[in-house]
């Protein structure tokens, strides 16, 4: 029972527990703030983690991601504005229930469903990651290249407004990662003779640029367009905030099914929480006897998306820990943090950094408990505070934090410029449905993919044939092409039916 070892690692370090508690609060608040995502908050905090112990840093960031996924439901339920994209499906029945005068019940349902979903997802992570890592332990460069290739194609084809846009975002991320010193020969390339380019583009300014700075630009644009727009918050009705035991029993099967669906989606790279939430909502609505009532404030309509979107959290770490390939934006950022602290991520991490990994798993479980308590008892209060906080003051403060976070990563003003340019690019990309997640994941993976590709070709005289002589590599290539073809056929069918949405 390695997880017990993880708990002992975590609880023997009071500061780590404190960081987990603080991260739970921060994650819920960030998630509940419309426009701010947990990925953005994590990106801004990465430079701070340079100065922290690896467990403190990773546990804090990992728990912010978990709590942020739940936090998104608070603003979805109370203001009809999902704090995160993953909470968009919760808006339908969550806000409808809130408008009926039962926002407390909706928030408690979201808290219970999120915590249960997260718990089931984490169980899969704790027991599944070790098992998958044992299988992938004998992978060589050709297999790794096939995994990277599959990750690039799968992520490109499932995120973004179209497959072409997904592929463009991925290709741009790879090209951006090629700037600087070549990882194998140590030769400078694509630097245009500029000294700052020789050390390559840093991950932190890029992350802050595309996720946070682009959001500030969006908010400035919104401020110019709609000055003085007020938010509306529903008032709690006495007695309407109780989640009764029979109601809990009624939603338990929904939570269980949606959590399994969310966990399965979480393992696949790129799909993420929002896909899981909408898939679970659609599936439970299809199964429901009272289909017509869905959308009017049905309790299962909150439980299904919330449990599914949080169930993604744990399994999305499996590709990262078992293969060193992040399946989500947050996992990509965590990979950066692992590397900053000198920890190599891959199947051997369970041998080399066992205490850290299981400490991280334990932190995740403690974080679930903490955000559940915060959400169950304080969700409405947090919602009210956020509704009153003026965005005209919040975003400039975030702007100032962006500048220092980008600078602090390498104490280089050049990185501040990189962040601004990335922010402008991110703004344009978001406007036209290009995937920032695909861009960042490709940027993070590109050097590893290039290394695996070139090492594979050094291993043989058969050239490219080496990729087709290894059955595992062939399986991953086939999987990638299958997913891409499936997506192409699906999108063609949708277009043929004349329904672009």
């Amino acid at each position: 029972m390695d997880i017990l070892y993880g708990f002992s690692t975590l609880f023997s370090d009071p500061l780590a527990v404190l960081f987990v508690i603080l991260a739970s609060f921060a994650g819920v608040i960030v998630g509940a703030t419309p426009g701010l995502t947990s990925a953005a908050a994590i990106a801004m905090l990465v430079p701070v983690t340079f100065y922290m112990e690896p467990l403190h840093a990773l546990a804090g960031l990992y728990v912010i991601g978990k709590a942020g996924r739940f936090g998104g439901s608070i603003s979805a339920i109370l203001f009809n504005t999902p704090g995160t994209a993953a909470a968009a499906a919760t808006t339908v029945d969550g806000n409808a229930m809130s408008r009926k005068g039962m926002p407390g019940k909706a928030l408690k349902t979201a808290a219970v469903a999120s915590a249960c979903g997260d718990l089931i997802g984490d169980m899969l992570l704790i027991f599944g990651a070790v098992w998958i890592a044992m299988l992938t332990r004998n992978f060589g460069p050709p297999e790794y290249f096939a995994v990277y290739f599959a990750a690039f194609l799968v992520i490109s084809s499932v995120v973004g407004a179209s497959i072409v846009k997904g592929l463009i975002s991925t290709a741009a991320g790879i090209v951006a990662a090629m700037i600087g010193i070549d990882p194998m020969e140590g030769m400078p390339r694509l630097d245009f003779g500029i000294l700052d380019f020789q050390s390559g583009l840093a991950l932190v300014p890029l992350l802050i640029g595309v996720f946070v700075f682009s959001e500030i630009l969006f908010q400035i644009e919104r401020t110019i367009r709609e000055r003085g727009t007020a938010k509306v918050i529903s008032d709690l009705v006495p007695g309407g905030d109780r989640l009764a035991w029979p109601e809990f029993r009624q939603i338990m099967p929904v939570i269980l099914r949606s959590s399994i669906l969310g966990s399965a989606i979480g393992i696949l790279p790129g799909l993420g929480s929002s896909v899981a939430a909408f898939a679970a909502y659609g599936e439970e609505r299809r199964r429901a006897k009272n289909k017509d009532e869905w959308g009017t404030g049905v309790i299962a309509g909150i439980a299904a998306p919330e449990s599914a979107n949080n169930a993604v959290s744990g399994p999305s770490m499996i590709p990262l820990l078992a293969l060193g390939v992040p399946g989500s934006t947050i996992a990509a950022i965590l990979l950066g943090v692992f590397l900053i602290h000198g920890i190599t991520v891959g199947p051997r991490i369970f041998d080399t950094s066992r205490d850290l990994v299981f400490g991280l798993f334990a932190a995740g479980l403690v974080g679930i408990g903490v955000y559940f308590v915060i959400g169950f008892f304080g969700g409405a209060a947090i919602g009210r505070i956020i509704a009153r906080a003026p965005s005209r003051l919040i975003y400039p403060y975030i702007f100032l934090t962006c500048f220092i976070s980008a600078y602090a990563a390498r104490t280089n003003v050049f990185d501040v410029f990189v962040m601004c340019v990335a922010g402008l690019f991110g703004y344009l990309m978001r406007k036209q449905g290009y995937s920032m997640a695909a861009f960042i994941i490709a940027f993070v993976l590109a050097q590893g993919a290039e290394r695996a590709f070139r090492q594979s070709l050094i291993l043989t005289n058969d050239g490219w044939l080496i990729f087709f002589q290894r059955p595992v590599a062939v399986a991953f290539f086939a999987l990638a092409i299958l997913v891409l073809s499936g997506q192409l056929v699906q999108r063609y069918r949708i277009r043929a039916q004349g329904d672009p949405s």
């Binding site: 701070v48 100065y51 973004g160 407004a161 179209s162 072409v164 592929l167 463009i168 290709a171 741009a172 790879i174 090209v175 090629m178 070549d182 194998m184 020969e185 030769m187 390339r189 694509l190 245009f192 500030i216 630009l217 908010q219 400035i220 644009e221 401020t223 000055r227 965005s391 005209r392 003051l393 975003y395 400039p396 403060y397 702007f399 100032l400 934090t401 500048f403 220092i404 600078y407 602090a408 003003v413 501040v416 410029f417 601004c420 402008l424 690019f425 703004y427 344009l428 990309m429 978001r430 406007k431 036209q432 449905g433 590109a446 993919a449 590709f453 070139r454 070709l457 672009p500 949405s501």
Partner: protein, 160 residues
């Protein structure tokens, strides 16, 4: 009607791909006949150029594909100029001020500009900017010991 420039991201990717294709072509391989440090940048910049070029062509041919694809918003030229123009100025200002006057003054001036952009009055902007910069200064430069480069002009004044 406001001028729409939905093709701008596709054009930006075409230019990005083209610039890096030229730069990749100029990379000299350290050995002949193998897959060296030019292979991946060259192939990916070609892929980017082809994909972005195709996307740009589709957009021009269909006169604005934005409405037909989910998750897309219109890019209005005026809004983009309102954002990018001041941002470029701000970047230049920040860069120059950081080098000449150091972090505190550079961030204070840029902070006031951003608070103003969000519709706050001058006094609120100045007060909040000072509070924000002060807090960040204590957290990052004093507690976390991030290197705070002294501005060259301030340094010069200190010498005299």
């Amino acid at each position: 009607m406001l001028k729409e420039i939905n093709w701008l991201p596709a054009l930006a990717f075409v230019l990005f791909g083209a610039v890096y294709l030229i730069a990749s072509l100029r990379i000299v391989e350290s050995f002949d006949g193998g897959y060296g440090h030019r292979t991946v940048p060259l192939s990916m910049s070609i892929a980017l150029l082809i994909l972005a070029g195709w996307q740009l062509h589709r957009m021009i041919a269909s006169k604005g594909l934005a409405e037909s694809e989910p998750g897309c918003e219109t890019i209005v030229l005026r809004d983009f100029l309102y954002l990018s123009g001041p941002l470029v100025l701000l970047m230049g200002l920040y860069g120059v001020m950081q080098v000449w006057f150091g972090y505190v003054l550079a961030s204070l001036v840029c902070g006031v500009a951003v608070f103003r952009a969000f519709g706050n009055n001058w006094i609120v902007s100045l007060i909040h900017s000072a509070v924000g910069v002060g807090t960040i200064y204590i957290l990052f430069f004093k507690l976390l010991s991030v290197y705070d480069p002294p501005g060259s002009i301030l340094e010069l004044l200190r010498i005299f």
